[in-house]
């Protein structure tokens, strides 16, 4: 790259807001605010959908296993294994073997998010003081109530940590979803030919900002949900 770094970033910011010329489009302009916003929303859409699927699958399972104290090897092993799964392979295999498009990509992304949610929920529940649970039982609460009103609130910091991890990995992998037929911000990055260097950088900037925004929001949510008694230690 012979351009100065700052000039490149300036060019990228400009790309986000005003449509640019492009060689291959026969005169049509690319980029601009509308397109950027469209892709940001699409990216969020895919991420939210996959995260929702992951939550529906992993949260109840983690709560149940943690409450009963069963399946530590499974839950923890899954978590460690989950970290080792290469995201690119998941997207690639789904695209080739099953099919392209949101219907197949969303579950694939969800798989990546299941591991951190499962592990953290399990560990979070296990770390609740047994005495507290016994006391609740002593008061006559049903098992389900104990999970809902005692264990889950106490496990919130750890559980939310898992959800945040899942959100980040899903959002990151959604960047390469255009390879499998789902349009996201990754479009700017993968289609350098159309969007140019400025588009490439713009895509990267937008993904980074989006990730920080999601992480920040979830951190705030965690703080809101954490009961005051737990807010003693720093995260």
């Amino acid at each position: 790259m012979n351009t100065l770094p700052l000039a490149s970033f300036a060019g990228a910011i400009e790309f986000i807001f005003t449509p640019q010329d492009s060689n291959v489009t026969g005169g049509n302009k690319v980029g601009g605010f509308d397109k950027s916003l469209e892709l940001v929303l699409k990216h969020l859409e895919v991420t939210a959908l996959a995260l929702a699927i992951a939550l529906i699958v992993a949260l109840p399972l983690g709560l149940y296993l943690g409450h009963r104290g069963k399946g530590e090897l499974f839950a923890v092993g899954f978590g460690n294994a989950g970290r080792a799964i290469p995201e690119l392979a998941v997207i690639a295999l789904v695209a080739v073997l099953i099919g392209v498009g949101l219907k197949t990509v969303a579950p694939a992304l969800a798989i990546l998010g299941i591991a951190p949610i499962l592990v953290n929920t399990y560990v979070g529940v296990r770390q609740v003081e047994p005495a507290t649970v016994e006391a609740a039982r002593g008061m006559g609460m049903s098992e389900l109530s104990i999970i809902r009103r005692v264990e889950l609130p106490l496990a919130i910091p750890t559980v939310m940590g898992g959800i945040r991890s899942a959100a980040i990995v899903i959002l990151a992998t959604a960047t390469i979803a255009p390879l499998a037929g789902v349009e996201t911000l990754g479009d700017f990055i993968i289609n350098r030919n159309v969007y140019g260097e400025n588009g490439l950088l713009a895509g990267a900037i937008l993904v980074a900002l989006l990730a920080l925004a999601i992480e920040g929001s979830l951190a705030l949510l965690q703080r809101r949900l954490t009961s005051d008694g737990l807010k003693v230690k720093t995260a």
Binding site: V24, G26, V96, V100, N193
Partner: protein, 331 residues
């Protein structure tokens, strides 16, 4: 708490897994230099002579990011090595804008480009303005390149073009023989193409503006999946290349629609390089490249594409087999 015995077992398992990984790594660090066994070495073109004077020149050969391009890049790179140059390859650069920039900035010495792509993408020609004759197209492109201090060597025998393809069933169902036949039908059909296709005049944009077609939907997929999506019944229409091996090997399954309005110009391959690079590299640079591409007619290119895309050989292997079989490089 684990006992010592269990700890030892864990350690041994870990070391075994580690050894397995390193074994694979060690196994393959050597270059894969297998060539497919063609015993007859062909015609009169003659082997490439190695010129020691070329050893002082370092070249980097680039290519765009799909198999046919990488095969070509490998052919040129290996041929130039045989001619005595010090050659590095930087294949899989990206699309044409990226590759051209790489030549201009000196990142690579040169790369193979399609004359049609150069004319429409770099020099703003409308698709119907691209000359059908390969020599004419080259001259036009070369004239433009020279204005920027670049030059393009003479073209390959074969030419390739984008094409709208579909399954035989779909073609029969809707009576599709040419792209114009899609008029009135395409609204019910889904189109799959590369992520940049919607904005390319030699892709969906051209179909919309120059054929006046509208599609039910467009889905971006990696070029490598262009046949998979047809196979799986996900795509009604897919953007293919006329040199694709699947078109002959699986001709009972796939068919391309004739480009009757000539929106997808065919391009012979021309090697694009900087004038200054060519001068510094000496006469063998151009001579070797032109010599080694003489054998690349349509049939040969399709065979090479078949080896890489169907049999999953590496472009390096396919290129080596070609060079050897045609007698350019001693076998």
């Amino acid at each position: 708490m684990r006992t010592d015995q269990t700890r030892m077992r864990v350690l041994l398992a870990a070391l075994a897994a580690l050894a397995l990984t390193l074994g694979v790594a060690a196994c393959g660090s050597s270059d894969d230099s297998t060539t497919s066994g063609s015993t007859e070495s062909g015609g009169e073109a003659g082997a490439i002579q190695s010129n020691p004077a070329n050893g002082k020149v370092s070249l980097t050969i680039g290519s765009k990011n799909f198999p046919e391009q990488e095969i070509l890049g490998e052919i040129y790179a290996q041929a130039l090595t045989a001619a005595g140059y010090k050659v590095k390859s930087a294949l899989n650069l990206g699309s044409e804008t990226v590759a051209l920039k790489a030549v201009k900035t000196g990142q690579i010495s040169g790369y193979p480009e399609y004359a049609s792509t150069a004319l429409t993408s770099f020099f703003g020609l409308e698709p119907e303005e691209v000359p059908a004759d390969g020599a004419e197209a080259w001259e036009k492109a070369n004239a433009e390149f020279e204005k920027e201090g670049l030059e393009a060597f003479e073209p390959t025998p074969f030419a390739s073009a984008n094409a709208v393809g579909t399954t035989k069933e779909t073609a029969e169902k809707y009576g599709l023989k040419t792209v114009s036949d899609l008029d009135g039908v395409s609204e019910e059909l889904s189109l799959y193409g590369s992520p940049e296709c919607p904005q390319r005049i030699d892709c969906k944009l051209g179909l919309e503006e120059l054929y006046g077609l509208k599609f039910k939907s467009f889905t971006p997929v990696d070029i490598g999946l262009r046949y998979t999506v047809l196979e799986k019944g996900q795509a009604d229409l897919s953007i293919l290349f006329t040199t694709d091996p699947q078109l002959s090997a699986e001709s009972d399954k796939f068919v391309i629609l004739e480009d009757d309005k000539e929106v997808f110009p065919a391009g012979n391959v021309i090697f694009v390089t900087k004038k200054s690079v060519a001068e510094k590299a000496g006469p063998d640079y151009e001579k070797t490249i032109l010599q080694v591409q003489e054998g690349l007619d349509l049939k040969v290119m399709q065979e090479l594409d078949a080896r890489v895309e169907l049999e999953k050989e590496t472009p390096k292997q396919a290129a080596a087999a070609y060079l050897e079989s045609a007698g350019y490089v001693g076998g």
